[in-house]
Amino acid sequence: MKVGNLFLSLLAPISAIIFSLAVGALVLLIVGIDPIDAFGQMVTFSADSTSLASSINKAVPLYVSAVAVAIGFQMNMFNIGVEGQYLIAAMFAGWVGTNVVLWGPLHITAIILTAVVVGAIWAGIAGALKVTRGVNEVISTIMLNFIAFSVIAYLLANRFAVESTSLNLSTGKLPESGLLPDLNFLITMFGFAEPRGIAIPGFLVIAVLLGIGYYVLVWRTRFGFDLRISGMNPGSARMSGVNPKKMIFYTMLISGGVAGLVGLSTLVGKLGAYTQDFPRGIGFAGIAVALLGRNHPIGMALGALLFGVMDRAALVLKLEGIPEEIVVIIQGVIVLAVVVAYEIFGRIIARREVRAAADALENLDTGAGVTA
C-alpha cells in the first residue's frame, strides 16, 4: 500500500518531465530540428565534471530559493517576493561585507546574518501587512518586488557602489575572509578532472544544512507542527492554541530570511560583490522548483539539480545553432505538467486511502466484535 503510493508520487514528476520533453521535441520538430540530436547533444555535453560543477552552481541558489518558497507553502502562503528579498539582501550583505571587516569566520557570519535579516525584514513587511491590515501576501510581495528594485537602484547608484571604471556598478569586492572556499575536492577526490573555471560553491554546505534544518523545523518540531496545521486548517489551528497571525508573521520572516540567502552562494562564492547585473529571476524559478519537489527537501534538491542541469545543457544548443529558448519552454511546461500530474495522482492516492480505510473497517467489523 505505502509502496504503491510512493510509486505513484514518483510517477507524477517523472511523467510530467517526459510529457514536457515530448512537448519540447514536438516544438523542435515543427521548426525542423531533430529533437533526438538536440537532446543527445545536451546529454553528452552535461556529462563531465565542469558541467556537473556548473549545474550544482546553478542549483544551489535555486534550491535555497525553493526552500524559502516552500516554507511559505507549508502554511498556505505564497511568498512571490523571494525575488526582491534576495536581491536586496544580497546588496546589503555585499555592502556590509566590504565595510565591516571582522576576524575570519565572524566576517562571513556577519555577511550571512545581514542577508538573513534584510531578507526577513523585507518579507516581514508583507507579513505585517497581512497580519495587521489583512493584505493578501501574493499581491503585496509582488508590489514589494518592484519596490525592492527601486530601492536597490537608488542605494546602489547613490550609496553603495564603489568608484570604478566599470559601468557595472558594484559594491566593493569582499576580502578573503568574506568568501567561502570552493568544494572542488568533492569531485577531484574521486579521480575526476578538476572542473574548469567553475567551482562547486562552498555555500553548498550551507544549502545542505539548510535543507536538513528545514526538514527538522517543519516536520520534527512543535513550531513546524504549528506552522503546518496553520496552513492545513487555520480554524483548527487556532482552536488548538496556535495564533495564526503570529504564525503568518513568523513564516514570512523565516521565508524571507531564507530568501536572503539565495544570492549568497554567488556573493560569497565567485562573484564576491553585489553587482548591477547580479543574477535575477531565481526567486521565480524557486517557485517552480518548490512545486517540482513538492516542498520536500530531497524533492526540491532533485528539482533544483534538474533545472541546473538543463540550464547548463542549454549552452550547447546555441553552439549547435538550435534555439536554446526551447529549454525555457520545456521548463515552463514541466512546472505546469508537474502540478497537473500531482493533482491527478494526488486524487488517485486519496481515493485509494479512503477506500483502503473503508476496506480495513469492513474487515474490522466482520472480524472481532468491537463494539461501544
Binding site: 512571490i80 495587521t132 491590515r133 489583512g134 493584505v135 509582488i142 537608488y154 517552480a288 529558448e325
Partner: protein
C-alpha cells in the same frame, strides 16, 4: 475607495433617477478641479491638467485597464489570474506578428487570440485539473516569456528588421481621430490659460484629441463589462460561479464552462492590452515590453474592488502618475503637493466621520508630503518608478478591510463535490 462595495446598479431604483448621486459627484468634481488648478498655480506647472498629459494618461491607462479587466472576469468567475503578465506578453507578440503580416486590426484580433490561448492553458490547469491557481499563473508567466522568445527567434529572423528580441516595425497603426468641433474648441480654451476653465478644457481635450479607436474600445470595455456582468443572465451566472459555485451548480449553471469563459476572456483582454501597447503606442514588439503592466493591472483590480469602474480608477491613477513623470519629470514634484492636499481633505472627512485616529495619521502623512514638497525640487526617478507599487500597497493597507473579493475566488472547484 472609489467604488461601492456591491455594484448596486442592478436596477435604477423605481425610476427615481439618482440625481442626488450625480449632484454629489459633480460637487466633488468641481471642488477637486478647483483644488487642482490652485495647486498648479502654486507649483508652477500646467502639466497636471494639460490635454497632452491626459491623452498620454489615457494611453498609458488602457493596457493596465485591459489587464485589470481581464483579471476581473477571471476572478469574478473564481479563478485568480496572476498569469496576466504572461498573457499580455503573448498579446504583444501575436499583436505585433499579425500586425506586421496582415495589418493592425489583425494584430488586435491575434493579440486577443494569443492572450486567450494562454488563458486556455490556465483554464485547463486550474478549472479542469484543479491545479493551484497561483502556481499555474506563475508557470504561465515563465512559459509565455520563453515561448515568445522562441517564436521571435524562429520568425523575426535577420533581414526582417527584427530579431530575437524585437519585431519589425508594424506598418500601420490603429487609426486615431479628433472629435470634430469639440477637440479644437477645447484646445482653444486650454490655450487661453484661464484658471479652472482651461484646466477642465485640457482634461477633456485629452479625451477628444488624437484618440485611437483601440483606446475607445478599451474604454468601452468598462461599461460593457459592467453591463455584461451585472445586467445579463450570462454575467449573473459568471459571477455566481465566483461567489458560490456549488449553489450555481445546483441551479444548473454550467460552472466549469462559465469558469472557462471567465479565464478565456481574461486572457483575451490581457492579450488585447498587449496588442494595444504594440499597435497604438510602440509600433513594434520588444521583449520585456510589458514591463510588469500585467501585475499593475492586478493591483488595479484589487484597488478597484473587483468592479469595472474601480479597475478604471486604479488603472487611471497609475496611468496618470506615469504620464506625468514621463512627459515632465519635474511635474511629479507637484504631485506631492496634490497628495498632501488630498490627504488633508481625507483627514477632514474622517474628522467629520468622527474617526479621529485615522484622521490624525492622515494629517501626519499630509504634513510629511507637504514638507517633502517644500524641501525638494524633484523626486528621484527610482521613487517615481515605484509609485504605482507603493500606491497599491498603501491602498491595500488602508482599505483592505473594505475590499470584497468574490467569495470563492481562488478556491478550487470540483464538480459534484460540495464544500
Amino acid at each position: 475607495m472609489t467604488a461601492d462595495l456591491h455594484e448596486p446598479m442592478v436596477e435604477a431604483k423605481n425610476g427615481s433617477f439618482k440625481w442626488s448621486r450625480w449632484g454629489r459627484f459633480l460637487a466633488i468634481f468641481v471642488v477637486a478641479m478647483i483644488a487642482l488648478s490652485a495647486i498648479q498655480e502654486v507649483a508652477g506647472t500646467t502639466q497636471l491638467t494639460s490635454s497632452g498629459t491626459w491623452g498620454a494618461a489615457l494611453r498609458l491607462t488602457v493596457p493596465i485597464l485591459l489587464a485589470g479587466l481581464g483579471g476581473l472576469y477571471s476572478e469574478r468567475a473564481g479563478v485568480v489570474n496572476i498569469g496576466l503578465e504572461g498573457m499580455m506578453i503573448a498579446g504583444t507578440w501575436f499583436g505585433a506578428w499579425a500586425g506586421w503580416q496582415y495589418g493592425p486590426w489583425w494584430g488586435v484580433v491575434l493579440g486577443v487570440v494569443g492572450g486567450a490561448g494562454f488563458g486556455l492553458i490556465h483554464a485547463i490547469a486550474t478549472v479542469t485539473f484543479g491545479v493551484d491557481q497561483i502556481v499555474s499563473g506563475v508557470a504561465i508567466n515563465l512559459l509565455a516569456a520563453g515561448a515568445m522568445r522562441f517564436l521571435s527567434v524562429v520568425t523575426y529572423t535577420i533581414g526582417t528588421g527584427g530579431g530575437a528580441t524585437q519585431s519589425p516595425r508594424i506598418q500601420d497603426f490603429i487609426q486615431t481621430f479628433d472629435v470634430p468641433l469639440l477637440s479644437p474648441f477645447l484646445q482653444s480654451i486650454e490655450d487661453k490659460s484661464w484658471f479652472f476653465f482651461s484646466d477642465i478644457a485640457g482634461i477633456l481635450g485629452g479625451f477628444t484629441t488624437t484618440v485611437s479607436w483601440l483606446t475607445v474600445i478599451g474604454l468601452l470595455a468598462v461599461p460593457v463589462s459592467s453591463w455584461l456582468l451585472w445586467r445579463t443572465a450570462w454575467g449573473l451566472r459568471l459571477r455566481s460561479v465566483g461567489e458560490n459555485p456549488w449553489a450555481a451548480e445546483s441551479l444548473g449553471v454550467p460552472v466549469l464552462r462559465m469558469k472557462y469563459w471567465g479565464v478565456l476572456i481574461s486572457g483575451g483582454l490581457a492579450g488585447l492590452g498587449g496588442a494595444y501597447l504594440v499597435l497604438v503606442q510602440a509600433g513594434i514588439y520588444r521583449e520585456g515590453q510589458t514591463g510588469g503592466r500585467g501585475f499593475i493591472g492586478l493591483g488595479a483590480l484589487i484597488f478597484g474592488n473587483w468592479i469595472p469602474a474601480g479597475v478604471l480608477a486604479g488603472a487611471g491613477l497609475f496611468g496618470y502618475a506615469d504620464a506625468l513623470r514621463l512627459r515632465q519629470a519635474t511635474a511629479v514634484h507637484a504631485l506631492l503637493l496634490l497628495i498632501a492636499v488630498g490627504l488633508v481633505a481625507f483627514a477632514l472627512w474622517k474628522v467629520y466621520k468622527k474617526s479621529y485616529g485615522s484622521a490624525g495619521s492622515m494629517a501626519v502623512f499630509a504634513i510629511l508630503f507637504f514638507l517633502w514638497w517644500l524641501t525638494t525640487d524633484e523626486v528621484p526617478t527610482e521613487v517615481v518608478t515605484a509609485t504605482p507599487y507603493i500606491a497599491t500597497l498603501l491602498v491595500l493597507s488602508l482599505a483592505s478591510q473594505r475590499l470584497r473579493m468574490p467569495a470563492a475566488d481562488g478556491i478550487p472547484y470540483r464538480k459534484g463535490e460540495s464544500h
